[in-house]
């Protein structure tokens, strides 16, 4: 017994030591100890963000250096706060607040104390920083815009927030990331890959050389430059025309699906969201809830498409064989739905497809739609076929272009009406407004432009996109390079395109011809309503216009949507005409037209609902 006491104690001690050691070293050990290791400092080397060029190689977005004052709270030593704050140009309260925030985030990791100093501020600071232990300056690269246009398309970059940090382990506090537009969509391409250096430190936090002679270090990889499909000059010109107007414009090259211009009005200068004034400007823009400059109307607004939608009704009716181009319909300055009359502005008389389109006759398309509808035994079947045709033009769903935001628009199907009216309790009279692009259908400007491109191509489209080249590589993503065919056979397009061409020749846009260019287009005038003090109130119609040109070899297809611009041929038609001329010819021959568009604004229309007084709509003010 006595002989065994000591031996058993020895064995017991050994076992408990092994147990504790395996708990520490086998169970509690974690692989990523390097980042937690106080003996290893991680230093990042930030590469320059990729430049962005337009379709012809003109520089849109470059970089400028900026300097963040960083702090590692643990290393800060007592300092003269007043002097330091004066040097940094911040208030004492802000300094104390920021320090507290930094300490809460992490005492041993760097936090941003003062973001984005300019080169000048930095020059003054650089010398004196050495005096303040625990503070240092981190160079970052900010965007330098070579254009004042395209803010919503290009997007902006901003500091990562806590959610970013949690959701993507790549980012560290203080880093920048693309927040919207191209910057967000192509973030990983543009940002490149930051370099990592591991530095061995001692207990006093002094650097004592590279960790393991740098075998784990990673070099930084430069951000890749992007060539996007926008045309810088067209974009800038379009935004100029949009001054004082709200709405969206999208122009597409039909033969490739490349987006030539993408405008939302009102917009803002992209450079507003760079530098120290960033957050102030950002709140100004975001708090403007009336004109909403950061809300990209070209892809987010979903008005009813209006009359341009009639072209698709003509195509669908032809495809189903319910009419021929010569089938006549009579317009009684309107048409009857049950015993209720709906108006028409075409002048009345007998209409065939050609006059139906270029005079935009409501009665003609109501008639054609009824024929289409009556071909099928049930409403459900009719709706399914109709919905299929409409959606094959990229309507009623997300288009799949390369921007991080968008809206699906709406092509109401049988489920929609079953939900609204009850199963089987609706018929053609309920839905006939869709035939003239009113009613429940809704489409974003980019969808309208894409639909126009599909007509220009006589039956197919390429998914609209902004990316042209990544670095030196021209894109070959089938998403953007493969044709998407519509359900309409090519031969049915000729009469519809002819009707659209006649819109310019003798129809609603005959005053808007571009000398020497044959254009096909379609105006739209969209009734719209708002609610003021709980009362539904009609506002001045939205002005919509779609067009493509030249008719026989389409280079550009576009949709212009101007809120409360009244007739389609007025604001939208004018702007479309000017953009087509600018793009195809480079110069504007009709200076009076241009001057009018540059000068006219719709601010008075937009002010009406907020004036508190009664107002008239659809006034002739020019």
């Amino acid at each position: 017994m006595k002989k065994l006491v000591l031996s058993s104690i020895i064995i017991l001690v050994g076992i408990s030591f092994l147990g504790r050691l395996s708990y520490l070293q086998l169970f509690r050990f974690s692989e990523d100890h390097l980042l937690e290791d106080p003996a290893v400092k991680v230093v990042y080397d930030y590469p320059e963000r990729g430049y962005i060029y337009d379709r012809s190689g003109k520089l849109l977005v470059a970089n400028q250096p900026a300097y963040d004052v960083m702090v590692i709270p643990r290393e800060v030593q007592p300092l003269d706060t007043t002097e330091f704050c004066t040097l940094l140009g911040i208030s004492r309260e802000r300094f104390i607040g920021q320090m507290q925030k930094a300490r809460i985030y992490s005492p041993r990791l760097p936090s941003v104390l003062v973001p984005q100093l300019s080169k000048e501020d930095y020059a003054g600071l650089q010398e004196k920083m050495r005096k303040y232990k625990g503070f240092y300056i981190e160079k970052r690269s900010l965007r330098d815009y070579k254009t004042n246009a395209g803010a919503n398309v290009l997007g902006y970059i901003s500091e990562v927030n806590e959610w970013d940090l949690k959701s993507n382990p790549y980012y560290e506090l203080g880093e920048l990331t693309g927040r919207t537009g191209i910057e967000k969509q192509y973030e990983e391409v543009l940002r490149g890959q930051k370099g990592v250096k591991y530095i061995q430190k001692d207990r006093f936090n002094r650097d004592i050389g590279p960790y393991k002679d740098g075998v784990k270090d990673l070099p930084s990889i430069r951000g890749t430059e992007l060539h996007i499909t926008l045309d810088k000059e067209l974009q800038e010109y379009g935004e100029l025309l949009m001054r004082g107007k709200r709405g969206g414009i999208v122009a597409i090259e039909p033969g490739s699906g490349e987006i030539l211009t993408m405008i939302s009005g009102p917009t803002y200068e992209p450079s507003l969201l760079v530098g120290r004034e960033r957050s102030k400007n950002y709140s100004t823009l975001h708090n403007d809830s009336l004109s909403r400059p950061t809300w990209d109307r070209s892809i987010l607004a979903e008005p009813s498409p209006g009359s341009p939608f009639k072209t698709l009704q003509a195509l669908a009716a032809l495809q189903e064989g319910v009419i021929s181009p010569e089938t006549p319909f009579t317009c009684y300055n309107g048409f009857y739905v049950g015993n209720r009359k709906r108006g028409c502005h075409c002048g009345g008389g007998t209409r065939t497809m050609n006059t139906g389109i270029y005079k935009s006759c409501n009665a003609y398309f109501a008639g054609a739609f009824r024929r289409f509808y009556d071909k099928f035994e049930t409403s459900d079947k009719a709706m399914d076929v109709w919905e299929g045709h409409m959606k094959s033009f990229g309507l009623g769903n997300y288009l799949g272009y390369d921007l991080p935001t968008g809206r699906p628009g709406r092509i109401p199907g049988k489920d929609y009406y079953d939900r609204v009216y009850g199963d089987g309790r609706w018929s053609s009279t309920y839905i006939i407004s869709n035939a003239i692009g009113q009613g429940e259908v809704a489409a974003t400007p980019i969808q309208l432009a894409n639909m126009t491109a599909a007509i220009a191509n006589r039956g197919f489209y390429y998914t609209p996109h902004l990316i042209k080249k990544i670095g030196e590589e021209t894109i070959d993503d089938p998403q953007y390079t493969e044709r998407k065919y519509t359900t309409i056979d090519p031969e049915h397009f000729a009469p519809v395109v002819q009707g659209m061409a006649d819109v310019y020749e003798k129809g609603t846009a005959r005053w808007l011809q571009v000398p020497g260019v044959k254009i096909a287009g379609k105006t739209g005038t969209v009734e719209n309503f708002t609610i003021i003090d709980g009362v539904r109130k009609q506002l001045t119609d939205h002005s919509v216009f779609v067009a493509f040109a030249p008719v026989d070899n389409p280079q550009i297809a576009l949709a212009v949507y101007i809120e409360n611009g009244y007739y389609g041929a007025r604001y939208a038609g004018h702007i479309a005409s000017l953009l087509i001329e600018k793009y195809l010819k480079g110069t504007i021959s009709r200076k009076d037209l241009e001057k009018r568009m540059l000068e006219k604004t719709l601010e008075h229309e937009y002010a009406k609902p907020y004036s508190g007084e009664d107002f008239k709509i659809n006034e002739y003010v020019w």
Partner: protein, 427 residues
């Protein structure tokens, strides 16, 4: 008896483990103290260079130890004991103070720490006293004398102050138990420690209830025939409770804050996680860093000279008391378990050596050696891996330090010298 036959009869297993531990120790000292600027391992301005000298001196002292007659140690043990006591007393006027402790004599190239040698001398003296034909460990008076031999050097060491080293001497009571001191002494001590800890953790009330329940269980489960004297048991219960109540008093009034903090950290007495974290980063800093360093080694470790925390000197006293953290970080679980196994084998082997001695003096000395080594190993590694509160004593053969290494070498090889002689009668 010639030198050759000593070598012939030596226990080479022990020698091998000794060499392994010293060699591994030096490698880890090298790793924890070298700078990339210095290239020569013989650089005497560096700890690893000095340790090489100490190893050389130790090896030389082995020759001396083996060269002397086995009977020399028994004969001169009292003299050696007195000599070390004098050396310890001499520290008061002549000692050199390092890090607040006056524990060293300054010999120019080398600081001698007599407390390290005192362990060997005390083990010898105790063995000598106990093996005396006149001594009977069952006698109170002799028990007291034996205890006095153990306590005397400890009393001289405590005020240096070096309570850690002083504590080691109490390990020698294991010798007494082996030689017949009733084991219930040990039981009482264990119960006392248990009451101490549980009182701190749960409070006297719960300890009282727990002990009461335990007694009731004993009464219920006893054989009907067995009689348990009620009064003495009740008396013991009262005694235990008195002790438990005194624990709180002693803890709050006699202990200093730094001691209380160590216990707070060890037993997780502090429930407030923020305060616990605070303690962990201040007084628990060493333990926190050493645990983290060991943890970061994982299974295979980061490799020789690759320990980031070792290189960054994050663990204080790493080449001395915390040398085991270097093993943990650079050699991982493979390294740490090897060291633990080597110590376990060494200690078991030494128990075996002690038991096979025919001569009571040799046996008792052997037990003394095992006790001293074991307590060092247990407290040091236990502290470094966070199982015991911080008590600063070196890891035998491993830690940096000349006095320690030479002292442990003498301690061990005197036993081997005695063992080599076990079959012979005294010449």
């Amino acid at each position: 008896m010639s030198g050759r036959s000593v070598l012939h009869r030596m226990d080479w297993i022990t020698v091998l483990i000794f060499l392994l531990l010293v060699g591994m120790g030096w490698m880890n000292i090298y790793s924890s103290t070298y700078d990339e600027g210095n290239s020569s391992i013989f650089d005497l301005s560096q700890e690893y260079g000095k340790q090489l000298v100490f190893i050389a001196i130790s090896l030389a002292s082995i020759v001396l130890v083996l060269g002397l007659e086995a009977s020399f140690y028994e004969r001169f043990s009292s003299l050696l004991y007195l000599l070390t006591l004098l050396l310890l007393i001499g520290l008061f006027p002549f000692g050199k103070t390092i890090a607040g402790a006056t524990s060293w004599y300054d010999l120019g190239f080398f600081n001698l720490q007599p407390s390290e040698l005192a362990k060997t001398a005390t083990a010898l003296a105790l063995a000598k006293y106990l093996s005396d034909i006149q001594t009977d460990i069952k006698r109170r008076k002799d028990q007291l004398y034996a205890l006095l031999i153990i306590i005397l050097p400890a009393l001289l060491i405590i005020p240096q102050p070096d309570p850690g080293s002083a504590l080691v001497f109490f390990a020698l009571v294991f010798v007494l138990f082996r030689e017949g001191l009733p084991l219930w002494y040990l039981g009482v001590a264990l119960v006392a420690v248990l009451i101490f800890i549980t009182t701190l953790m749960f409070g006297s009330a719960w300890v009282g209830i727990g002990l009461g329940l335990a007694l009731i269980m004993v009464f219920l489960l006893k054989k009907p025939t067995a009689k348990i004297p009620f009064l003495p048991v009740a008396g013991l219960y009262v005694l235990a409770m008195a002790f438990s109540l005194s624990v709180n008093f002693v803890f709050e009034n006699v202990f200093e804050q730094r001691h209380r903090d160590r216990f707070s950290l060890w037993l997780r007495l502090e429930k407030d996680p923020e305060k616990l974290e605070e303690i962990r980063k201040t007084i628990g800093y060493n333990t926190y860093q050493s645990e983290k360093a060991i943890e970061s080694g994982g299974t295979l470790g980061k490799g020789f000279l690759e320990g980031t925390r070792t290189k960054g000197d994050f663990v204080p006293e790493q080449h001395t008391d915390y040398i085991f953290t270097t093993v943990g970080e650079e050699w991982g679980f493979v390294g740490t378990s090897t060291v633990v196994l080597l110590f376990t084998i060494l200690l078991l082997r030494l128990v075996h050596l002690a038991e096979r001695q025919k001569n009571p003096f040799s046996r008792m000395y052997g037990y003394g050696v095992v006790s001293i080594l074991m307590v060092h190993y247990f407290i040091n590694i236990g502290m470094v891996i966070g199982m015991l509160p911080t008590i600063g004593i070196p890891l035998p053969f491993f830690s940096y330090g000349g006095s320690g290494l030479i002292g442990f070498t003498l301690l061990l090889f005197i036993l081997l010298r005695l063992d080599a002689n076990r079959l012979k009668e005294w010449d």
